[in-house]
């Protein structure tokens, strides 16, 4: 589905990503985990075609992705950030945004928006203004907006980390349900191993811009790695 080869990203003379190889199979949910500043968001932006890598090559659905990414390819992905980043309009319009941008007919938009608001349990907020939502509600709307696009690849950059524990728990359960029913091809970034363990089949550990280990989450915890990796994972094994 998506492949990255030897990705290097340098900003202001600082090497942020060092030679990263990555691949994503259809229907797979892959986790990216690492401490703050390890380059997770940077890698996600590059994989989601929002930033060009300094060097390296991306392949999407078997085709090499050109330097200037065509709109048709850009429109096959969706991304949800830590902040909900809703526009200052109603909930319905926010979820409809990606579909309007793609020029879908009104009735199709209504169907899809209602469906995804329902899936994330926020259909009752449809007529409210986005400004009036709580953090958890806003993030549900943001997720509905991304799923409504029905992207070929979905990127989630720490979608829960701005939420308090109970809110986060509820959303994680609902998201796991949606994943199960949609089989969405997803890259999930988190600095919390629990999210990764619950939602992904395979995870990569990023440290200082390098992939230092990868595998199924349960095995990552069991196996031993370089000392610094173990030190990072030790936070979660208790």
């Amino acid at each position: 589905m998506l492949e990255a080869q030897e990705i290097i990203w340098i900003q202001n003379h600082k090497t942020i990503l060092k030679n990263i190889d990555f691949h994503l199979l259809p229907g797979e949910c892959v986790g990216l985990i690492g401490p703050n500043g390890s380059g997770k968001s940077s890698l996600l932006k590059i994989l989601a075609f929002l930033e060009p890598p300094t060097s390296g090559q991306l392949y999407f659905q078997g085709q090499a992705v050109p330097k200037s990414v065509p709109l048709t390819i850009r429109r096959k992905i969706a991304i949800v950030f830590q902040e909900s980043l809703l526009l200052n309009t109603g909930v319905f319009n926010n979820v409809a945004m990606g579909l309007k941008i793609r020029g879908l007919p009104k009735e199709r938009i209504r169907e899809k928006v209602d469906y995804w608001l329902e899936q994330f349990g926020v259909i009752h907020l449809s007529k409210q203004s986005a400004r009036s939502l709580s953090g958890g509600e806003a993030q549900r709307v943001s997720l509905a907006r991304a799923f409504a696009i029905e992207p070929d690849v979905l990127f989630l950059d720490e979608p829960f980390s701005a939420l308090d524990a109970p809110t986060k728990e509820g959303l994680r359960i609902d998201l796991a349900k949606v994943f199960k029913s949609t089989q969405a091809t997803t890259v999930l970034v988190s600095h919390d191993f629990k999210d990764i363990a619950h939602l992904t089949n395979r995870a990569l550990i990023l440290l200082n811009g390098e992939v230092v280990a990868q595998g199924p989450p349960s095995e990552l915890l069991k196996n031993s790695h370089k000392e610094e990796v173990d030190r990072f994972l030790a936070h979660f094994s208790s």
Binding site: L87, M97, I101
Partner: protein, 233 residues
Amino acid sequence: MEMIWQGISAALHLLLTKDPEVIEITLLTLKISGTGTFISLLIGIPFGTLLALKPFPGRRFILSVVNTGMGLPPVVVGLWVSIFLWRSGPFGFLNIIYTPTAIIIAQAIIASPIVAALTCAALQQTNPKLRLQIKALGATRLQYIWLLLKEVRYSLLAAIIAGFGAVVSEIGASLAVGGNIQGYTRVLTTATVLEVSKGNFDIAIALSIILCLLAYGATLGLTLLQQKQQGGP
């Protein structure tokens, strides 16, 4: 004191009886300043958008020029527009000096930097992450600009009001390029000054009340919009 009370009561009488001359001047003012502001939007919003969203060499310099332009003295604009429109000037052949069109041009020049600077500031203050999110939703360049402008719509309305407020209350340019011709280029500010010079305080006060209402209405509108932008009730 006597004269003040007389003036105010006569002014209220003129307003309440809808004195035809006062009405005419008010309508003409609204037409001229409204058109001038409208043209300034056509120039200021695209220009402000360009300054905010498109990095190019010299952008900072141009931005500082535009910001300075916000405080352009209307009488200076009046002077230069006069020079250009003067019968022997470069655009003299148009024959529009001392017409409402000349005032509209001058007022559009006064309001454009205000609208451009405020548009630019509003767009630059949007969350860079939100901009990235809009891009990530698959927006084309035009859709991206459109959605951002919609996002700052209250600031744009504020820019419009600020532009209108500036031109409706200026006198230097209207006088210089319009000539204060009765029923043709006589607007609220120029009429007020004329009536004062003639000692007709009643009509001058009546005109000034209308001018204040327009200016106060603009300020009130700005305040309400700012509250709305901040997500208040």
